[in-house]
């Protein structure tokens, strides 16, 4: 059995201790976490629900204003839609996505055949996905550039462009539903080296609780 020693080893030890301490700050147990979602400055949500046979994802961008709303059809998902409009509570922009269970069943079973492989906008890998990419489709939305819907064999996700101040950093966190069950990951995507492509990435795991709700 070999161990790491020496100057690098001491750094390794320091790093390991730091890692443990940082992890203790963020989690109360190995992988258990606080089961509370990260708070993002200027953003309310996202929230995920299953209502009227639709998996809904909603987020409010406080720093984006839009006087009128719009409902946008989602290509290849005929029973689903994306809606944007003013949020009356915050005066920000509400982005609401409703993906019908029928569309989810059709999409996740055939996503790799009908959709193009997409990473994050700008080319950075999708965090938390070993492949770094998923089949996806882009939806052009006024004021928001492209919203991207991702789908895998047991995954559904959305990237919502948002003006965030950070650059060259992406923070990824476990995402919990209202009952405290982990249903996916949320990533706060800072601007890339070209000062673009910041936003919020939400990836939902359809192999567990959400999948049961959807009927997969």
């Amino acid at each position: 059995m070999f161990y790491i020693q020496g100057r690098r080893g001491r750094f390794a030890l320091y790093g390991l201790v730091s890692l443990v301490l940082i992890s203790m700050l963020a989690a109360t147990g190995c992988g258990k976490g606080t089961r509370k979602n990260i708070k993002i400055d200027g953003v309310v949500g996202p929230t995920v629900n299953f209502i009227d046979n639709k998996l809904t994802m909603a987020v409010v961008l406080k720093n984006v204003q839009l006087d009128v709303g719009a409902r946008v059809a989602i290509p290849k998902l005929p029973n689903s839609y994306l809606e944007i409009g003013p949020d009356f509570q915050t005066n920000g922009l509400l982005v609401f996505i409703g993906v019908d269970a029928t569309d989810i069943k059709a999409l996740v079973g055939d996503a790799f055949n009908v959709l193009d492989p997409l990473t994050l906008p700008g080319g950075r890998p999708l965090p938390g996905i070993a492949e770094g990419w998923l089949p996806g489709l882009a939806i052009e939305v006024p004021k928001l550039h492209n919203v991207i819907i991702y789908a895998g064999t047991a995954l559904l996700g959305v990237f919502i462009p948002a003006p965030l101040p950070w650059k060259d950093y992406i923070g990824t966190f476990r995402f919990y539903d209202g009952a405290g069950d982990r249903i996916g990951n949320i990533s706060i995507v800072g601007k890339d080296s070209s000062d673009q492509n910041s936003g919020i990435l939400l990836l939902v795991n359809l192999s567990g609780k959400v999948g049961n709700l959807v009927g997969l």
């Binding site: 080893g9 750094f11 990260i38 080319g123 938390g128 070993a130 770094g132 992406i170 990824t172 990533s187």
Partner: protein
């Protein structure tokens, strides 16, 4: 915990990330014994090219982080390293990405070099590859970038509890879930001067598609 707080810690976090990669990569040496069947604690090794970018990733099933970070690699153009909670398994994903143009240094190859201490790179004809050295905090990484092989060297010391150093080179094959050979991992022993040991990953890469064979044989 807010994202700002996490971001402010990111400088130290980068070092921790890099170190964790190193620590994690070291763990197969402990238990793998070079059999080449399976790397303990490592799953879902991925190598792909999407939209002119090379992506290399694997999942540690033994680490379970509630959060992670993606950041640019200082000094290496258009490259990122990520550690993030795996969406499917509850493990932790380690990802490395780089633009192909940067991989080839925009047509200006990096100087051909062997291992950082000058020894030949194992299993590579001539023992040298275009090499780029990057420092993340206190950790010096060497990245080998060519249109045939992608490599990563992390300096580490391998020493037993009784003070016995790794006496010889140990290598093991990395395979995907279908058994296809993706590359090899090497534990490089120290040189006669007592330095230069570390962990080396070599992944053959040709024309934008992962190759079925191992690195170029001598």
């Amino acid at each position: 915990m807010g994202f700002n707080k996490l971001k402010n810690r990111s400088g130290k976090k980068i070092g921790v990330i890099a170190l964790s990669v190193a620590l994690f990569l070291a763990s197969p040496i402990n238990g793998g014994c070079g059999k080449g069947k399976k790397v303990p604690g490592l799953e879902n090794f991925r190598l792909s090219v999407i939209q002119q970018r090379l992506y290399v990733a694997f999942v540690s099933t033994t680490l379970s982080w509630d959060y992670g970070v993606t950041t640019a690699i200082p000094g290496l153009k258009d490259a990122t390293v990520t550690v993030a909670p795996d969406l499917i398994t509850g493990g932790t994903v380690f990802q490395f990405s780089i633009g192909l143009a940067a991989l080839l240094n925009d047509g200006k190859p990096f100087p051909l070099s062997g291992l950082p201490d000058g020894r030949a790179i194992p299993d590579i004809e001539g023992g040298v590859l275009p090499r780029w050295d990057a420092e993340i905090e206190q950790l010096k990484l060497s990245v080998y970038l060519s249109n045939e092989v992608f490599g990563l060297f992390v300096p580490l010391k391998f020493i037993s509890k009784k003070g016995v150093t790794l006496p010889w080179l140990v290598s093991m094959k990395i395979r995907d879930e279908r058994g296809n050979l993706l590359g090899k991992v090497y534990a490089i022993p120290q040189n006669v001067g007592g330095s230069g040991s570390g962990l080396l990953i070599l992944l053959p890469y040709l024309g934008g598609a992962p190759q079925g064979g191992g690195p170029t044989k001598k």
